[in-house]
């Protein structure tokens, strides 16, 4: 079983090896291999400059690539040592960065009449990259299809996303592309303003990547049409978790206080989304979940609520036939949003927009802050992932 803490121990020893002055105890320096894990996230430094960075489990910097603007999602290539970094919605750039050294290889821009909507995913064979985009003239969501030839990325095709405002896209284990069509329409002339709150119609779409056609769609009940489906995570056993945001912003009186479910689950043989309420009311999270992630075993699900500086943990092991699972601990962590799997079961790596990254295990309530001051100094952006 992979053990995060064993590798953390090795990393501590490696840092000792790197600084090299403790020359005596050869045994301490002996088993210091490992250290291949690389954690990735966009961040702002203390001067507000935008970067894409890689670091190890101690929080020590591996690289920091300057970017033209704030980045958002990261797509890791399944076999080549590269990743794609996508501009924050409604952005105009997409960068290809080599791993693990962090060399900037290529920057592409949005096609005319399109804006990047924050996320992307590589196809399982690594030959294509799919980006969520907005076709703002026609007010519809599209998926940009890009060919990766091992060196360069180029645009080859475009599909309908199956709705408006697509945000996170991920690959399902059965090789379909999952699209969170958030349902929110924006236009570059009005920035991030939501233009269709009354007529929003979010959905979760499955796209067959052989044909580019939507093969399946799941909706929310019409009474909840303002619940934007924005972020996705699929567990090792194929359970899809959708993290929701109640759209409307502070302008609408009920948007931050109405009690609505913010988690939707879809099990492999289910034919509808199962809605789950968070364990706390909207005064704690303002009906806004920023990121969602399964642990490596698919037993624990983590959700972050940056507007309330809260993180929630859901144990999805079936308790009985009627329950989807049960809520475990909730924690306060300043401005938290980025979240990714830890290398141990039931454990997560969680970042803070005000600086710092921790490992947290909801089972036993264990915290382990990453000690290196590199991760303390940066303001970590919304999403984090690991190789």
């Amino acid at each position: 079983m992979p053990d995060y803490c064993v590798s953390r121990r090795q990393l501590l020893q490696r840092s000792l090896a790197l600084t090299a002055a403790l020359s005596g105890p050869a045994k301490v320096l002996a088993d210091t291999a490992d250290g291949q894990d690389l954690i990735l996230s966009a961040f702002d430094d203390q001067h507000g400059q935008h970067f894409f960075g890689g670091f190890d489990e101690l929080g020590s910097q591996r690289f920091a690539v300057p970017l033209p603007g704030r980045a958002h999602g990261i797509a890791i290539h399944p076999s080549d040592s590269v990743c794609a970094v996508i501009a924050r919605r409604a952005g105009t750039f997409l960068s290809i960065v080599s791993l693990p050294e962090g060399r900037h290889l290529q920057t592409l821009n949005n096609p005319a009449q399109r804006r990047f909507y924050g996320h992307a995913a590589f196809s399982p064979d690594g030959q294509r990259l799919f980006t969520s985009e907005n076709d703002y003239e026609h007010q519809r969501g599209v998926i940009g299809v890009w060919q990766w030839d091992g060196q360069q990325l180029r645009r080859t095709d475009e599909w309908l996303s199956g709705g408006e405002g697509p945000h996170e896209v991920i690959m399902h284990p059965d090789s379909q592309l999952l699209v969170a069509n958030g349902g929110v329409i924006t236009h570059p002339d009005t920035g991030r303003d939501m233009l269709n709150l009354d007529t929003m119609h979010p959905n979760l779409s499955f796209i067959d990547i052989q044909t580019g056609q939507v093969s399946r769609q799941l909706d929310l009940p019409s009474a909840l049409h303002r619940l934007s489906i924005r972020h996705l995570s699929v567990s090792s056993s194929g359970v899809i978790a959708c993290a929701l945001q109640y759209a409307g912003g502070v302008a609408l009186p009920d948007s931050a206080s109405k009690v609505v479910p913010l988690l939707a689950l879809l099990r492999p043989h289910d034919n509808h989304l199962q809605l789950v309420h968070l364990p706390e009311g909207p005064e704690f999270h303002r009906n806004y979940i920023g990121s969602v992630c399964w642990d490596i075993d698919g037993h624990w699900l983590a959700l972050t609520a940056p507007q309330g500086s809260r993180a929630y943990f859901f144990n999805a092991l079936p308790q009985d036939e009627n329950s989807a699972g049960r809520w475990g601990a909730s924690i306060t962590y300043s401005d938290t949003c980025g979240i990714t799997q830890d290398s141990a079961a039931g454990s997560f790596i969680i970042s803070s927009g005000s600086g710092g990254i921790i490992s947290y295990s909801p089972m036993d309530g264990d915290w382990q802050p990453m000690p290196d001051s590199f991760v303390r100094r940066q303001r970590w952006d919304n999403h984090m992932t690991r190789t």
């Binding site: 953390r8 105890p25 306060t332 949003c337």
Partner: protein, 365 residues
């Protein structure tokens, strides 16, 4: 806020699970962009620098002096030159207490070379410190004891958390042993880091003077206060207490070997309150807060008063209290008060002072 205030007036200890100030705070924050951009921000710069000079500098100075004592006591003990194990342990507890007064500051000089986690490495989930110390002791390499080499050691074996293991874990260090020499070397390293912190702090303060952002100092202070409140509640209290009595674990307390975990919390709390209240010749952040929002300042004063009272009445160690039903209840009250403080700092105080601590909470996606 109403329920908190009424609890204060009725003389009860406020033990709100978690106040619902987030909305208030965010509304204030929305206003803050309009209202608080204008008034003389140089006042904030000056207050932060005064706090740095008159409240934080002496704390660093004290840390440097006390760790210097520890280093000398340790050396004397190991060389059988007049100290005792008990005296060294006392010296250790004083040093730990002095560090906990400034532990929350993880920027500035404390950020360089990872000095902050080097001074006290915790949590240490898999007991890395002990393992690395045991390896060092088994190898008994004299080269490791060289101060220059030690300045570069793994953070897990370079500060007070390592000293605590050597001083309180069995077997106790015998004078003239390698274990004692290692203890002595780590004590010297701790004193060295502490002296650098005290020495570099004034020059660091000058950077606040020159910084284009007049709120930089206040922001860093508030961030540290908010963070240490989170850490007290969720790590220092919740981890050893566990979710129920049967899940209490002494070994998950921060300084269980020296039974100092509650003293650490007191010192961390004193950091928060001293920055808010100041002392007889230096006002704290409450001066600014009451200028903008007197009700909030009153709430903070009341919370400090009741929490200090609660802490004063705790005549037990955390290590014992976590497994005692009655004392455990008091720890839970303490935790609720700390949570209230954290929530007030992160939402209401930051909103009132026009300070944003991160950026995800503002604009997500």
């Amino acid at each position: 806020m109403t329920s908190l205030l009424s609890a204060l007036h009725s003389g009860q200890t406020p033990t709100l699970k978690r106040p619902r100030h987030a909305l208030t705070g965010l509304c204030l924050l929305a206003l803050a962009n309009i209202t608080w951009a204008a008034p003389a921000p140089e006042l904030e710069r000056q207050l932060a620098m005064d706090i740095g000079h008159k409240l934080i500098q002496p704390a660093y100075q004290r840390l440097a002096e006390i760790t210097d004592h520890l280093s000398h006591d340790t050396e004397a003990y190991c060389q059988m030159a007049g100290s005792s194990l008990e005296a060294v342990q006392r010296s250790y507890r004083d040093s730990l207490n002095a560090w906990m007064r400034v532990q929350a500051i993880n920027w500035g000089p404390a950020e360089k070379y990872n000095r902050n986690p080097s001074m006290y490495f915790w949590p240490d989930k898999k007991n890395i410190s002990s393992r690395q110390l045991n390896t060092l002791i088994n190898n008994a390499d004299p080269a490791v004891l060289d101060p220059a080499a030690f300045s570069q050691a793994s953070i897990a074996v370079s500060g007070l958390s390592a000293i605590e293991r050597l001083l309180f874990d069995a077997p106790p260090p015998q004078p003239n042993s390698y274990r004692c020499q290692l203890l002595s070397a780590i004590s010297a390293n701790t004193a060295r880091i502490s002296q650098l912190l005290a020495a570099e702090w004034p020059a660091y303060m000058q950077q606040w003077q020159a910084d284009s952002d007049p709120l930089k100092g206040i922001r860093l202070l508030l961030k540290s206060m908010d963070e240490i409140a989170q850490i007290i509640s969720q790590q220092k209290l919740a981890m050893p207490m566990g979710s129920e009595l049967s899940k209490a674990r002494i070994s998950r307390a921060e300084s269980y070997r020296s039974a100092s975990s509650l003293a650490n919390i007191r010192a961390n709390w004193a950091f928060i309150t001293s920055l808010l209240q100041g002392n007889s010749d230096q006002p704290g952040l409450l001066k600014l807060i009451s200028r903008e929002n007197d009700e909030l300042a009153e709430t903070l004063r009341g919370l400090i008063f009741t929490t200090d009272h609660l802490l004063k009445a705790m005549d037990f160690t955390l290590e014992h209290a976590i497994s005692d039903p009655e004392q455990r209840g008091k720890l839970m009250m303490l935790q609720a008060n700390i949570d209230t403080m954290q929530s007030l700092l992160s939402a209401d105080v930051s909103g009132t002072l026009g300070i944003t601590l991160g950026f995800n909470s503002r604009d997500g996606d």
